[in-house]
Amino acid sequence: MRALLGLILLVTAPLAARPQASEAAFTPDTVLQMPGGLRIVVLRSDPGGVAALRLSIPFVETAAEAGAGRMLAALAERRMAGVARQVGARVSASRTPWGLAYSVEGAEADLDYLAYLLRLATAQPRPENGIVELIRAELILDLERQDESPGDRLLADLRRATAPDLSPLGGSHSSVRLLDQARLRAVWQRTHLAPSMSLVAMTSASAVTLLAMLEQIGLPKVEVTEPMNAPDSGVVNRGPPPPGSWYAEARVDHAVADPHAAVAAHLLAQNAAGSGTGLDLSVRVWQLRDRSLLVVAGTALSRPAITSLKETVRSALADFSDSLDAHQVAIAVGRVGREYRARARTPGGLVEQVGHMADRTGGSSDASLYLAGLGRVTAESLAAYLDGLGAPVAVESAR
């Protein structure tokens, strides 16, 4: 272990300058980068007997591989679940816009066991007979469900219109059908490399202890495995349009983590709820890999109402800058900040927030910086942010 330590570049955070009290929780205490190995970010605190670990791996799929990440996550979760149950640990594996995230949370006394669960999650998939087929069937069912859901169809259309270069995380009907063990293994070999892995941990153990526990995780070097570039058929299996009229507009934000987006969405949702138009409007920030979409969508049950719906959605976005009120913006900033912190109130929630932000931006202190930035949002800065967004992109579906 001593020889190993000699290779370690130790960086002590915080990188952000004197964060406020409630932001300090999001600031790493230690960042440990192993040359040729994984990065370990430790959040300082007394986690009260609980340890939470989140390991993320960047993951980019070609159109022909789309859905592989979801399938690898499902396989990993199955591998972990039975073992985790024995010690009462919580586990999850998920596909994020930036890659895969494996999370474990349990008693601090079981830390070595939790580390073992992460090693298990990231190990080469060797599924039992029929498991790949079962998960593939579940993914196809998900795709069919999305095809039937008007809201999901609108989002898919928006993604195609605003980010045609990005594959859908759930894959396509054609790509998912092609995913077999050989393909999954090839994708796993190309992606599960120790140098690209990043761990965010909340534990009283040191970064060096964690490193020792996870020394064997991931593949040591890049395997020469070309991504599969067989073109996706591009065929979209769709049934008839859903009843009623559906319309959505989105504005594209090319910054990866601008807090103005969440404040804008909060205010837009508030405006939509109080508009009194009787139309069913929804507002969301949809995070894609390298951009986010500020989406306003709505539905009208009768065809004649579509004109009114379009006008309402358009004006919700277009006139938004004109109606900004400093007091309302301040309230929205407070609410968004409290909700962000509330999601981080448990050790598992905190490593998720910090890890998620680091996946987005690459910076292990960026959750803290995000909150600091949120605190600086004003009516003026929000107006400037909205002015800087791209022109609205519209999609619709009507029967």
């Binding site: 409630s22 929780a25 605190s45 912190r341």
Partner: protein, 413 residues
């Protein structure tokens, strides 16, 4: 509310569980002037729970739902006065009401002052009352005829003495709500809400002079003392009640009375073991939901197993519960089996308690019941096979309740 309430002296037992997202298995019980300091500067949120020993058992007959409406109205009134950096939620139970304040570290002192002033001093706001009244009215109408609610009410009545106010519906009925006025709420608050008998627990809080010097902090012990449940048993002879109703699920409730002064953590461990054994892998598709709880019933503590199952599986589930409890009693846990169960229980308690809202709920319950919070981790390590065997030996005959369709007779009542 008259101002004399604030002059009542009390000791607020402040469990200061400090740190970021602390899993507060062991809070420190100390008076305000000795709050310890550790890591409070790194908490993303401050969470403070205030528990008032007033619940639905204090409702008058015909005015069920008074405590519920009082809690909801006070929370709504507080939230209307708070800024965006703080929020109050409320949980109204049968014996107590818990208000939970979540606030940014910079915002909690003013928010806490607002909450205490609203709870014990401010005049009830009729607008908040009207809004909460309408919300509850919609909720009660929506729930009318719900078999889940029906089952819950009947199973609660099964473990309480006849006509016990403890067993009344916590949120009332459409009829009792129609009779409720803001004056009924004021009367309940005047007679039952007292700053001197409430208890407070906080997570993520530094040693702040604003809280330390708060009037509620300079006082003497609560006049009524802890409110431990009786030693029981809540009943001595078991019973079985089956109600036929044409519904699509069956509801099963099996309740075991406990006898004697038993360590609470050991009883929770027994409930955990029963729950674990009722949750096979792969999951039984006929079991929709299962909950195993330790309940402080009016005449003693009770372990209650509630489940919603497929109609054809209710008999099998009931037999499974009886078999598991019987086998645990006859073949007590020991050796590695015991150690693994205890390890899982510890992890489950730690993970659940890592949520500050759950933590303050648990600690304020401990404070109200025992006068001090448990050191859960230490208590769990103190559990031995003998302690578990003793707890299992204290289980009495069960009361069993089943609600569901009669499949044998073709479904008619």
């Amino acid at each position: 509310m008259s101002s004399h309430h604030l002059s009542v002296e009390r000791v607020v037992l402040l469990a200061s569980l400090i740190g970021v997202c602390v899993s507060p298995l062991s809070g420190q019980t100390i008076t305000y002037d000795a709050v310890s300091v550790d890591d409070g500067d790194r908490a993303p949120l401050v969470v403070i729970g205030t528990r008032v020993p007033t619940g639905s058992r204090h409702d008058m007959a015909g005015l069920e739902g008074t405590a519920w409406m009082l809690g909801k109205t006070l929370a709504a009134q507080t939230n209307a006065a708070l800024g965006p950096e703080a929020e109050v939620t409320v949980y109204v139970g049968r014996s107590s009401t818990l208000f939970v304040l979540s606030a940014l570290p910079s915002a909690w002192p003013i928010a806490w002052e607002t909450l205490e002033r609203t709870l014990f001093e401010a005049t009830l706001d009729s607008t908040s009352f009207e809004q909460e009244w309408s919300t509850l009215e919609r909720q009660l109408l929506f729930q009318r005829g719900s078999p889940g609610l029906d089952s819950e009410l009947r199973s609660v009545q099964l473990i309480a003495p006849d006509s016990s106010p403890w067993a009344r519906p916590t949120s009332g009925t459409p009829e009792s709500l129609a009779a409720l006025t803001v004056r009924d709420l004021e009367f309940l608050r005047l007679t039952e809400y007292s700053i001197g008998t409430s208890v407070v627990a906080a997570v993520g809080l530094d040693d702040d002079p604003v809280l330390r010097d708060h009037p509620s902090g300079r006082t003497t012990p609560p006049p009524d003392g802890p409110t431990s449940p009786p030693d029981g048993p809540a009943w001595t002879v078991g019973s079985r009640l089956s109600v036929t109703e044409e519904i699509t699920s069956s509801w099963v409730s099996v309740a075991y009375p406990l006898r004697g002064p038993l360590p609470r953590t050991a009883l929770e461990f027994v409930a955990h073991v029963i729950r674990w054994r009722l949750d096979p892998r792969p999951p039984d598709p006929d079991r929709y939901s299962i909950e195993v709880r330790l309940v402080d019933a009016p005449l003693g503590r009770v372990i209650v197993i509630d489940a919603a199952v497929a109609p054809g599986a209710s008999e099998r589930f009931e037999q499974e519960v009886l078999r598991i409890v019987s086998s645990l009693t006859e073949e007590p846990l020991e050796g590695d089996f015991f150690r693994w169960e205890r390890r899982r229980f510890l992890a489950a308690q730690l993970l659940t308690g890592a949520d500050p809202e759950v933590a303050v709920a648990r600690i304020t319950s401990d404070l109200m019941r025992d006068g001090e919070p448990r050191d859960l981790a230490a208590d769990i390590w103190d559990i031995t096979p003998d302690v578990v065997a003793h707890a299992l030996g204290a289980l009495g005959e069960p009361q069993i309740f089943r609600l569901g369709p009669d499949l044998a007779s073709g479904g008619s009542r």
